[in-house]
Amino acid sequence: MARMTMIKAINSALDNLMQRDETVCSFGEDAGYFGGVFGCTEGLQAKHGLNRVFDAPINEAAIIAMAIGMASNGLRPVAEIQFSDYIFPGFDQIVSELSRIRYRTAGSFTTPVTIRTPCGGGIYGGQTHSMSPEAFFTHIPGIRVVMPSNPYDAKGMLIASVECDDPVIFFEPKRLYNGPFDGDPHKPALAWSSHEKGEVPTDHYTVSIDKAEIVRAGSELTILAYGTMVHVAQESVRVAGVDAEVIDLRTLLPYDMQTIAKSVNKTGRCVVLHEAPRTSGFGAELIAQIQEDCFYALEAPVVRVTGWDTPYPHAHEWAYFPGQERVIRAIKQVLEG
């Protein structure tokens, strides 16, 4: 075991995968020689060779299409999209192709592609380096959508994703790359080395991409979060001094409704968090399903704490980011409601 940042954990996952399975390859813009703008693929080209880890032209559709073609010919490509804000030129290849090839060929062609891409705000990236576009992907039948919130899960879930025969969109909350972040930009930055989930085995292991994790058991209310918001939730609960059950969803499509429903049926109250804009965000889906499955247990409306329905502003990052203050207000609201 070793303490790793999320970047190192991802790197280690790719390294393990490539060592065990010669069909695994990895590519993206700046992801070859340089090792990626965040360093997730650093050293891998030198170790595994040019045909397995390489730079791609700046064309996200090309990157995804290349991955689809490779996967249909027996490889296990891991494509990196530099920022999830830039995935949209490749959206058609995901919606119309990647997600449907198994279906439209009745299983005779399959495309086990993993697309890794950093998402989320908190780094003063402005409207083109801060997006949380996960909701779009949860409306695409045929792909899986996952998002880890710590290095241990990142490695285990990435390995599980690449080994899974379904295509997976693997979101990496970039604000968590180097350390946990509880939503308070004024505190000194934390490092993963000081966090138990920074403890990462160097060898191969997997973390289920079907299961949510209850990161804090509680009875008063349920908080559903994923990515960076898991940490914001935990700290908000601590500050508010409430006995909340905090669930790290980890996987958004399919999501783990069993764990969610069990918790909400127990607490009767629920807050849903995400960084993405509210309208038609993934929180909407969660709430729709919760009110369907837990209606008679609910004692107050489920409350969403989300990014606003605007592009992500640069200077007013902290007015946009759904930080502790907003989460705590929501907690109070559902407890009173």
């Binding site: 299409a65 290349m66 490889l75 192709e97």
Partner: protein, 413 residues
């Protein structure tokens, strides 16, 4: 806003075809070099060498039925006959299926009339292990690779034997066993995928190459550029084909930029070798494909091939071409008919005659008729039986997740 007609200094230019309904067809833009005008290139030549003829036309079959020039593949009579048979079979099949669609037997159909040689000759020049990523107008490849016609029909009428379980529109074939990739309804998406497939083949040290086909109109898509960029950068063993059949539904090739430069010449800026080929000349298509395949297989990377042909029928069963082009435009098409030209050649060689030809047509018509009869015994879209209803929930994922399972239960199947 100024509403100027074309070619003025104000107002932007909107290209228009040479002839619209009621006007005289005009194909003076089609530059017809004689067989031999374009030299054969060395298999490892510099791409630049091919660019000189990016607006030319590789031809083998003269209009007198005689083969000639560097590109003559010098095929055996039996190989030539096989191509003739396949082109004709494709046409016969199309003809029948189109009629059956009109009779309500299927929801949709698309013919490849007049451009059958593009698919058939290319397929014959490729190895069976090569993966093809076709568009919806290369059904000729399926016949060339020996796909069972009944299976093809069962797909088109979406019955219980449809290998795609009724999930795809008719003519959107997929045939993994024949290395025929699933045809997408979305244009051009398969072009860069073919490059990725080819890269994987190279990475595995295998000899199979990939080939893909799109139409003239489809070259405008961003994925066209994606494919050429990838193919150029990684020197992928792939053949990228543009089937320029002059029309994209109602828009002529000029709306995709075809008046400004040939589609083959698009490859120049990527440093890809480019071959522009008489698409109604099965021998030229065969030779060009063979050359590109050999080049790819020997590690010299991708080739862009434009086949110049003409869409002889409506786009699909959903449109009436009389609304946007002269009704008899096909009659003025200067490159003739691929079936007739190959037939003339064979007759010239003394290995074929009109009688045998007639006989073949009759036999093929009967073959198709019987095949359809058999296909119908497995059901039709309207009457059933179809694939089991519950199967619509399969193959979305490897395993059915909880939410899809719930939905299946919801539907009560």
């Amino acid at each position: 806003m100024k509403r100027n007609k074309n070619n003025n200094n104000t107002g932007f230019f909107v290209p228009e075809p040479a002839a619209r309904p009621g006007e005289k067809p005009d194909f003076s833009r089609i530059d017809i070099s004689s067989p031999g005008a374009v030299p054969m290139y060395k298999i490892d030549c510099a791409a630049k060498q091919t660019h000189e003829f990016a607006d030319g036309l590789i031809r083998v079959l003269g209009f007198d039925g005689v083969a000639g020039g560097d590109w003559d593949p010098k095929l055996d009579a039996s190989e030539l006959l096989e191509m003739l048979r396949l082109i004709s079979l494709t046409r016969t099949y199309d003809e029948r299926m189109f009629k059956l669609q009109r009779q309500g037997k299927m929801s949709f159909y698309m013919k490849s009339l007049g451009e059958e040689a593009v698919a058939v000759a290319a397929a014959k020049a490729l190895d069976d292990e090569d993966m093809v990523f076709p568009s919806y107008r290369q059904q000729g490849i399926l016949f060339s690779r020996g796909r069972d016609m009944v299976d093809m029909m069962c797909h088109c009428i979406s019955n219980s034997r449809d290998n795609l379980k009724g999930r795809q529109l008719p003519v959107h074939y997929s045939w993994a066993e024949g290395n025929f990739f699933s045809i997408s309804g979305n244009l051009c998406t398969q072009f860069p995928q073919a490059v990725g497939w080819a890269m994987a083949s190279a990475a595995k040290g295998e000899t199979a190459i990939a080939a893909s086909w799109i139409g003239d109109g489809t070259t405008a898509e961003g994925d066209f550029h994606a494919a050429l960029t990838l193919a150029s950068v990684y020197r992928a063993p792939v053949i990228l084909n543009v089937v320029n059949n002059q029309w994209a539904i109602s828009t002529y090739a000029g709306i995709a930029g075809g008046d400004q430069a040939s589609f083959a010449s698009r490859g120049i800026g990527y440093g890809l070798p480019t071959l522009r080929v008489d698409g109604n000349d099965a021998l030229a298509v065969y030779a060009a494909t063979k050359w590109a395949a050999k080049r790819a297989r020997s590690g010299h990377g991708a080739t862009l091939i434009e086949t110049v042909t003409y869409r002889g029928e409506s786009h699909s069963t959903s449109d009436d071409p009389g609304k946007y082009r002269p009704k008899d435009e096909v009659k003025s098409w200067p490159l003739g008919d691929p079936l007739e030209r190959l037939k003339d050649h064979l007759i010239g060689l003394g290995t074929w005659d009109d009688k045998r030809h007639e006989k073949m047509l009759t036999e093929q018509a009967e073959l198709v008729r019987l095949a359809y009869k058999e296909a119908e015994s497995f059901g039709t879209l309207r009457e059933g039986p179809l694939s089991p209803t519950a199967s619509i929930f399969d193959d979305v994922y490897v395993e059915q997740p909880w939410h899809i399972r719930r939905q299946r239960q919801d539907l009560g199947v």
